[in-house]
Amino acid sequence: MRDRMSHGDNIVRSHSGPALAGRRISSGDILYTDWMAVTGDCLLLRAQCIVNSGGGTVDITPQTRGDEGSTVTTVTATGSALVLNSQGFASAAYLATNSTALGNGLQRQVRFKVATSGTWADGSYMVIRLLPPIMFDSAQ
Protein backbone atom coordinates (compact mmCIF):
# COMPACT_ATOMS: atom_id res chain seq x y z
CA MET A 1 0.00 0.00 0.00
CA ARG A 2 1.48 3.36 -0.97
CA ASP A 3 2.25 5.99 1.63
CA ARG A 4 0.11 4.40 4.29
CA MET A 5 -0.19 6.10 7.65
CA SER A 6 -0.47 3.54 10.37
CA HIS A 7 -0.26 3.27 14.13
CA GLY A 8 2.28 1.21 16.00
CA ASP A 9 5.90 0.67 15.10
CA ASN A 10 5.65 1.22 11.35
CA ILE A 11 4.72 4.82 10.82
CA VAL A 12 5.24 6.15 7.34
CA ARG A 13 5.68 9.88 7.65
CA SER A 14 6.71 12.72 5.47
CA HIS A 15 10.34 13.79 5.30
CA SER A 16 9.92 17.55 5.41
CA GLY A 17 11.57 17.77 8.83
CA PRO A 18 14.89 16.46 10.01
CA ALA A 19 15.31 12.73 9.67
CA LEU A 20 16.61 12.73 13.22
CA ALA A 21 16.52 15.74 15.52
CA GLY A 22 19.45 16.42 17.85
CA ARG A 23 20.19 13.20 19.72
CA ARG A 24 22.81 12.08 22.23
CA ILE A 25 24.62 8.90 21.17
CA SER A 26 26.94 6.77 23.24
CA SER A 27 28.96 3.65 22.52
CA GLY A 28 26.77 0.65 21.72
CA ASP A 29 23.66 2.63 20.88
CA ILE A 30 21.68 1.50 17.88
CA LEU A 31 18.56 3.33 16.78
CA TYR A 32 16.32 3.51 13.78
CA THR A 33 14.26 6.40 12.55
CA ASP A 34 10.65 5.87 11.52
CA TRP A 35 9.96 4.66 8.03
CA MET A 36 9.18 7.47 5.66
CA ALA A 37 7.77 7.55 2.15
CA VAL A 38 10.27 7.82 -0.67
CA THR A 39 9.95 10.62 -3.20
CA GLY A 40 12.70 9.58 -5.61
CA ASP A 41 15.06 6.69 -6.28
CA CYS A 42 18.19 8.56 -5.25
CA LEU A 43 19.13 9.96 -1.87
CA LEU A 44 21.39 12.70 -0.63
CA LEU A 45 21.85 12.46 3.12
CA ARG A 46 23.66 14.84 5.40
CA ALA A 47 24.40 14.50 9.10
CA GLN A 48 25.97 16.76 11.67
CA CYS A 49 27.95 16.01 14.79
CA ILE A 50 26.99 18.94 16.99
CA VAL A 51 29.02 17.89 20.02
CA ASN A 52 31.81 15.34 20.20
CA SER A 53 32.83 14.55 23.77
CA GLY A 54 35.35 11.79 23.25
CA GLY A 55 33.19 9.78 20.90
CA GLY A 56 34.43 7.32 18.32
CA THR A 57 32.46 6.84 15.12
CA VAL A 58 28.76 7.06 14.32
CA ASP A 59 27.70 5.11 11.25
CA ILE A 60 24.50 6.20 9.51
CA THR A 61 22.99 3.72 7.10
CA PRO A 62 19.85 4.15 4.99
CA GLN A 63 17.62 1.12 4.74
CA THR A 64 14.84 0.63 2.24
CA ARG A 65 11.95 -1.73 1.69
CA GLY A 66 9.02 -2.19 -0.65
CA ASP A 67 5.91 -2.56 1.42
CA GLU A 68 5.43 -3.00 5.13
CA GLY A 69 6.76 -6.39 6.11
CA SER A 70 8.91 -6.83 3.02
CA THR A 71 12.65 -7.37 3.00
CA VAL A 72 14.69 -4.55 4.49
CA THR A 73 17.83 -3.78 2.51
CA THR A 74 20.76 -1.50 3.18
CA VAL A 75 21.05 1.12 0.46
CA THR A 76 24.42 1.08 -1.26
CA ALA A 77 26.35 4.33 -1.05
CA THR A 78 27.85 5.84 -4.17
CA GLY A 79 31.33 6.29 -2.84
CA SER A 80 31.94 6.71 0.86
CA ALA A 81 29.40 5.72 3.48
CA LEU A 82 28.00 8.32 5.84
CA VAL A 83 30.17 8.48 8.95
CA LEU A 84 30.56 11.03 11.73
CA ASN A 85 33.77 10.94 13.72
CA SER A 86 34.38 14.59 14.50
CA GLN A 87 32.40 17.75 14.97
CA GLY A 88 30.91 19.03 11.73
CA PHE A 89 28.93 17.84 8.76
CA ALA A 90 29.20 14.77 6.57
CA SER A 91 27.39 13.97 3.32
CA ALA A 92 26.79 10.85 1.29
CA ALA A 93 25.04 10.12 -1.98
CA TYR A 94 23.05 7.02 -2.81
CA LEU A 95 22.43 7.09 -6.54
CA ALA A 96 20.35 4.46 -8.29
CA THR A 97 21.73 2.85 -11.42
CA ASN A 98 19.95 0.59 -13.89
CA SER A 99 20.82 -2.52 -11.88
CA THR A 100 17.86 -4.34 -10.35
CA ALA A 101 19.88 -5.56 -7.37
CA LEU A 102 18.36 -4.86 -3.99
CA GLY A 103 20.04 -1.92 -2.33
CA ASN A 104 20.52 -0.11 -5.62
CA GLY A 105 18.53 3.03 -4.93
CA LEU A 106 15.42 3.50 -2.87
CA GLN A 107 12.27 1.44 -2.95
CA ARG A 108 8.97 2.61 -1.47
CA GLN A 109 10.08 3.48 2.04
CA VAL A 110 13.31 4.50 3.70
CA ARG A 111 14.60 4.79 7.26
CA PHE A 112 17.98 5.45 8.79
CA LYS A 113 19.98 3.24 11.10
CA VAL A 114 22.35 4.95 13.50
CA ALA A 115 25.01 2.81 15.17
CA THR A 116 28.41 3.25 16.74
CA SER A 117 31.82 1.80 16.02
CA GLY A 118 35.44 2.47 16.82
CA THR A 119 36.88 3.42 20.18
CA TRP A 120 34.81 5.45 22.59
CA ALA A 121 36.26 6.76 25.85
CA ASP A 122 34.38 5.89 29.03
CA GLY A 123 31.43 8.21 29.45
CA SER A 124 31.93 9.73 26.03
CA TYR A 125 29.11 10.78 23.77
CA MET A 126 28.18 12.62 20.62
CA VAL A 127 25.19 14.78 19.86
CA ILE A 128 24.17 14.28 16.27
CA ARG A 129 21.34 15.11 13.92
CA LEU A 130 20.30 14.05 10.44
CA LEU A 131 19.17 16.78 8.08
CA PRO A 132 16.05 16.25 5.99
CA PRO A 133 16.87 13.65 3.33
CA ILE A 134 16.94 14.95 -0.23
CA MET A 135 15.36 12.49 -2.63
CA PHE A 136 15.27 12.77 -6.40
CA ASP A 137 15.15 10.57 -9.46
CA SER A 138 18.30 9.37 -11.10
CA ALA A 139 19.54 10.98 -14.27
CA GLN A 140 21.37 8.03 -15.76
Binding site: L44, Q48, I50, A92, A93, A139, Q140
Partner: protein, 121 residues
Amino acid sequence: MYPFFEVVPLGSTAKSILLPWMPTAADNAFLSYEVATSFFESGGSLTVVAYTKNRSDPGSEGTAFSSFAQIGSTGIYDKKCENLKELIRFKITVTPGGGSEPVVTQGAFMRFLPPNWYETA
Protein backbone atom coordinates in the same frame (compact mmCIF):
# COMPACT_ATOMS: atom_id res chain seq x y z
CA MET B 1 14.11 21.41 -7.97
CA TYR B 2 14.81 22.53 -11.50
CA PRO B 3 14.53 19.93 -14.25
CA PHE B 4 17.62 19.19 -16.25
CA PHE B 5 18.65 21.91 -18.64
CA GLU B 6 21.49 22.36 -21.06
CA VAL B 7 24.14 25.01 -20.70
CA VAL B 8 26.18 25.82 -23.78
CA PRO B 9 28.88 28.47 -24.20
CA LEU B 10 27.57 30.79 -26.87
CA GLY B 11 30.69 32.21 -28.38
CA SER B 12 34.35 32.11 -27.50
CA THR B 13 34.17 33.92 -24.16
CA ALA B 14 32.69 33.00 -20.78
CA LYS B 15 28.98 33.70 -20.37
CA SER B 16 27.04 34.02 -17.13
CA ILE B 17 23.36 33.97 -16.31
CA LEU B 18 21.50 34.55 -13.05
CA LEU B 19 18.53 32.39 -12.08
CA PRO B 20 15.57 34.01 -10.28
CA TRP B 21 15.72 34.85 -6.60
CA MET B 22 13.92 32.41 -4.32
CA PRO B 23 13.08 32.75 -0.64
CA THR B 24 15.22 30.99 1.94
CA ALA B 25 13.62 28.57 4.39
CA ALA B 26 16.22 28.48 7.17
CA ASP B 27 19.36 30.14 8.46
CA ASN B 28 21.58 27.77 6.52
CA ALA B 29 21.47 25.31 3.67
CA PHE B 30 23.47 22.87 1.69
CA LEU B 31 22.93 23.93 -1.91
CA SER B 32 23.67 21.40 -4.60
CA TYR B 33 23.52 20.79 -8.28
CA GLU B 34 24.10 17.76 -10.45
CA VAL B 35 25.95 17.55 -13.72
CA ALA B 36 24.59 14.54 -15.57
CA THR B 37 26.97 14.80 -18.48
CA SER B 38 29.32 17.38 -19.86
CA PHE B 39 31.92 17.97 -22.49
CA PHE B 40 34.45 20.78 -22.50
CA GLU B 41 37.64 21.22 -24.41
CA SER B 42 40.77 21.93 -22.37
CA GLY B 43 40.31 25.03 -20.24
CA GLY B 44 36.54 24.96 -20.45
CA SER B 45 34.40 24.84 -17.34
CA LEU B 46 31.03 25.15 -15.71
CA THR B 47 30.94 27.08 -12.44
CA VAL B 48 28.11 27.93 -10.08
CA VAL B 49 27.97 30.66 -7.47
CA ALA B 50 25.10 31.18 -5.03
CA TYR B 51 24.14 34.61 -3.74
CA THR B 52 22.06 35.70 -0.79
CA LYS B 53 20.57 39.08 0.08
CA ASN B 54 17.62 40.68 1.80
CA ARG B 55 14.73 41.99 -0.25
CA SER B 56 15.68 45.51 0.73
CA ASP B 57 19.27 45.16 -0.44
CA PRO B 58 20.13 46.77 -3.77
CA GLY B 59 21.83 44.96 -6.59
CA SER B 60 21.49 41.75 -8.52
CA GLU B 61 23.89 39.73 -6.43
CA GLY B 62 24.87 39.94 -2.77
CA THR B 63 26.96 37.77 -0.49
CA ALA B 64 28.54 35.04 -2.58
CA PHE B 65 29.05 31.35 -1.90
CA SER B 66 31.43 29.80 -4.40
CA SER B 67 33.62 26.73 -4.74
CA PHE B 68 30.97 24.04 -4.80
CA ALA B 69 32.69 20.72 -4.06
CA GLN B 70 32.08 17.37 -5.73
CA ILE B 71 30.60 14.68 -3.49
CA GLY B 72 32.92 11.74 -4.02
CA SER B 73 32.97 10.61 -7.61
CA THR B 74 29.36 11.55 -8.25
CA GLY B 75 28.20 14.32 -10.52
CA ILE B 76 26.77 16.13 -7.52
CA TYR B 77 28.41 19.30 -6.22
CA ASP B 78 27.38 20.96 -2.99
CA LYS B 79 28.18 23.94 -0.85
CA LYS B 80 27.43 24.69 2.78
CA CYS B 81 25.95 28.18 2.91
CA GLU B 82 25.55 29.72 6.35
CA ASN B 83 23.89 32.89 7.62
CA LEU B 84 21.57 33.18 4.69
CA LYS B 85 19.44 36.26 4.25
CA GLU B 86 15.92 36.41 2.81
CA LEU B 87 16.69 35.36 -0.73
CA ILE B 88 19.08 33.13 -2.64
CA ARG B 89 19.84 32.75 -6.33
CA PHE B 90 22.38 31.01 -8.51
CA LYS B 91 24.72 32.28 -11.16
CA ILE B 92 25.92 29.84 -13.81
CA THR B 93 29.05 30.62 -15.79
CA VAL B 94 30.03 28.57 -18.81
CA THR B 95 33.51 28.97 -20.19
CA PRO B 96 34.43 27.34 -23.50
CA GLY B 97 37.71 25.53 -23.80
CA GLY B 98 40.14 25.79 -26.65
CA GLY B 99 40.47 22.85 -28.98
CA SER B 100 39.43 21.35 -32.25
CA GLU B 101 35.77 20.95 -31.36
CA PRO B 102 33.45 23.88 -32.12
CA VAL B 103 32.29 25.88 -29.13
CA VAL B 104 28.67 24.82 -29.59
CA THR B 105 29.58 21.19 -29.03
CA GLN B 106 30.72 22.03 -25.51
CA GLY B 107 28.45 22.31 -22.52
CA ALA B 108 26.62 20.28 -19.91
CA PHE B 109 23.29 18.91 -18.79
CA MET B 110 22.70 20.02 -15.24
CA ARG B 111 20.01 20.51 -12.63
CA PHE B 112 19.74 22.01 -9.18
CA LEU B 113 18.69 19.67 -6.39
CA PRO B 114 16.39 20.76 -3.57
CA PRO B 115 18.23 22.80 -0.93
CA ASN B 116 18.92 21.02 2.35
CA TRP B 117 17.71 23.68 4.76
CA TYR B 118 18.76 23.60 8.41
CA GLU B 119 18.84 25.91 11.37
CA THR B 120 21.98 26.55 13.36
CA ALA B 121 22.34 24.02 16.17
